[in-house]
Structure formats: C-alpha cells, structure tokens
C-alpha cells in the first residue's frame, strides 16, 4: 500500500517545523531591533559629545556663565567706565588671532581684584582690579590676558574633553537659557576658573598671547607684569584675588614675560603708558577726600 505521505515529505515537514520553531517569536525580534536602535543612538550621542563645540554653542555656554557672574557680583553701572574699558578691550582684542567671535567687556561691582573670561568672548574685570591699575597699559595687559584665554580656547578645550559635562547637550531644550545642561556646564566652568584654576600652561599661554596683543595694539608690553607685581603686593596685604590663589606664582610669570620681551627684541618702553588718560577715565573709583 502506498503511504499517504512519502518519506521525503516527512523529512521536509520536519525541517519546516524545526525552522518555524527555531525562529524566535515576533516580540523577540522587536526586542533585538530595539536594542540595535538604542546602541546606534548611544554611539551617535558619544560621537556628538566628542565633537568640538560650535561657535553658537560656545556663545550659549558663555552667556550662561556671564549671567551667573552678573547675578552674583552685579555690574558696575557707570557708563563712562564701561565705555573706557570697552575701548581698551576692543583695542587689544583687535590684535587677537581669533576673530570668529565678538568680544564683550564689562566691569563687575566688586572690590576683589579679579578678571574673568568666559567662552564666546565675554570678559569681565572687577572695579577692584581697575582701581589697582596705575595706567592704561596695565589695564590693557589684564584685558589682553583674558582675551588670550578665549583665543587659546583654554576653558573650551576642558569642556570639550569632559564628556560628563556634555551629558544632556543633545536634548531639544539644552541651549535654552537656564536649561539644566547650561546650568551644569556654567557651574563647572566657574568652579574650574575660580576655585581650581586652569592648568599653569594655559595661564602662561594666556600671558604670552596677551603680551603680544598689548604690544601689537601699541601699548608697552610690560603692562601685565607691572600689574601682576602690584597684585602680588596687594594680596599679601590682605587684598582678595583668586588670581594669586589659583594662578602660577607671579615671580615665575614675570620671568617668562620678561624673557619673551627680550626674545622678541621689543624695545617699547618709550611708548606712552597713558597714565593721565587712565586717571581721568577712572576717577570715579578713587576714594573721595
């Protein structure tokens, strides 16, 4: 009698059943697909965190740092002094090699002797620091040092390297003022620049850049070193400044500045240091008799 199903048929049926049973159910397929999708997204996020910041993103971060500085220390609202600081700042910043951003200058209402710069071109100097200067070349030297930090992207490079800080940057509202991302990022920057200090190499680099900008702008190159000497004396007498707390020793910085001036053969000591103009423009800071 002929069997209903041939032997070959039985084998075929067996193989098909095995295949059907071996292939996982649809929900497992979905899980595998979902895992692959998540892994791809994660890889894209990591890639993004490692990318350099765009100028726009840098500006947003700097804007948040600036807002916090103003919230904590307040602007010194004197139109004449703000204008003067902007004039000197614009003069030295014009010599910076970094011209893809605009530089903004402001005076903070603090008697501490400090100057700050934030990514994106924001430069602050306290009225205490302006008052410590004796002439315009010193003010120019300090502002040029801060411009040097921005041009050298010293803070920006740290931020770009620190992946933990960039968590959340891909969220849609990350670039909105006051977002969790910008808040965390600006907190980190302020702790770094004020409490911990940048790497000594970055400070020396900002000194060298500032020296070049000030000299190229027409100021005597010794402005910054004269300011640093006075700052050292002022803090020894109780003046408050994070510059002497977190920056390399003034003696070492001044040695390097002098070496650079000698190496460049800059004989610019006869250039006007503009002490009279400085005194006239900053008279509001002098104690009233």
């Amino acid at each position: 009698m002929q069997p209903i199903v041939s032997r070959r048929g039985i084998w075929m049926l067996g193989a098909l059943t095995a295949l059907a049973l071996l292939s996982p159910p649809a929900d497992v397929h979905a899980q595998i697909f979902d895992r692959l999708k998540r892994a791809t997204k994660k890889a894209e996020e990591v890639q993004k965190k490692l990318e350099p910041m765009s100028v726009e993103e840098e500006r947003e971060v700097g804007r948040e740092v600036a807002a916090k500085l103003i919230a904590a220390l307040h602007l010194y609202k004197d139109e004449a002094l703000t204008r003067y600081v902007n004039m000197v700042g614009a003069t030295v910043a014009a010599q910076s090699e970094r011209q893809d951003i605009q530089y903004h200058f402001a005076v903070l209402d603090s008697d501490d002797i400090n100057a700050f710069s934030a990514p994106g071109g924001y430069v602050f100097i306290t009225k205490g620091a302006v008052a410590l200067c004796e002439d315009e070349s010193e003010l120019g030297g300090v502002l040029a040092h801060e411009v040097g930090h921005i041009a050298g992207k010293h803070v920006l490079k740290i931020v770009e390297r620190d992946k933990t800080l960039r968590v959340g940057m891909e969220e849609s509202k990350a670039q909105m003022p006051g977002s969790d991302y910008l808040n965390k990022m600006s907190q980190g920057i302020l702790v770094k620049i004020i409490d911990q200090g940048l790497a000594p190499g970055d400070e020396y680099d900002a000194d060298q850049r500032g020296l070049k900008y000030a000299h190229a702008a027409g100021y005597p190159a010794t402005g910054l070193s004269r300011f640093l000497t006075k700052l050292d004396q002022a803090t020894q007498q109780g003046g408050k400044s994070f510059w002497t707390r977190t920056h390399p020793p003034v003696s070492e910085r001044n040695v390097r500045l002098e070496k650079a001036i000698t190496a460049e053969h800059w004989e610019d000591a006869d250039r006007p240091n503009l002490a009279d103009r400085f005194a006239a423009q900053t008279q509001m800071l002098k104690p009233k008799a």
């Binding site: 497992v28 916090k68 315009e136 409490d195």
Partner: protein, 120 residues
C-alpha cells in the same frame, strides 16, 4: 530503516528543544537585565569625574549652607561654586544682552586709538 527513522526523530526532537530554548533564554536575559537596573541605581552615586567634580547644590538660607560645609568636614564652598549656584534673574540675562549689544562707534574708537598713539 529503523535507524534512519530514529535519526529523523532525534533531529525533530532537537529542533523542537532548540525552538523552545532560544526564546526562553532571551526572555531570561531580559529579565535579569531588568533586575540589575534597580540594583545599579541603588549604588551610591560617585562624585563626577573629570575636571569638574565635586559640585554641590546649595539651596535655602545661609545657615543651611553653613551646615552643609560643616558636615562635609574641611570642604568649604568655594567662591566659584557660590557664583556657579547663582540663579540669574530676567534682569541679569537682560544685562548680558545689553553687554552684547553695547557698541562703540568705529569713529570714536579710531579717535581714542589715535589720541593714545595706539594701532588700529
């Protein structure tokens, strides 16, 4: 003939077992991952690494802040941390915008530089 049938049955049974075992193993894998998640979350959070570790949120009155610094031992709240915790108001943000929009005319700047014998 019998041995061929036995072999065929063996293949069929193996296939059946594999078909059941694979999805089961995947389901177990998922379940164990789900169990691991809460355990990971329970672990005490380490301080953030990198350059910016050790940020502390400060809220409330200054006496509360004092308590935070005291219980943390010798760690004190740095000036940068205090400034970092500042919450800018709309007026503060407006001041930043004002700083960005502040401009000096090129003529005035040129005159300023000329008077100081500076370079343009």
């Amino acid at each position: 003939m019998n041995s061929k049938l036995r072999f065929g049955s063996l293949v069929l049974v193996s296939a059946l077992m594999l078909g059941i075992a694979v999805p089961l193993a995947m389901a177990q894998d998922n379940a164990s991952q789900d169990q691991e998640k809460p355990q990971k979350e329970e672990k005490p959070k380490k301080k953030k690494g990198g350059f910016f570790g050790g940020l502390k949120a400060i809220s409330g009155s200054s006496s509360e802040q004092q308590e935070v610094t005291t219980t943390a031992g010798s760690k004190t709240v740095g000036e940068g941390e205090e400034i970092g915790n500042a919450k800018p108001t709309a007026a503060d943000r407006q001041a930043v915008t004002g700083m960005e929009k502040y401009s000096i005319s090129q003529d005035d700047l040129a005159k300023f530089q000329e008077e100081g014998q500076l370079k343009r």
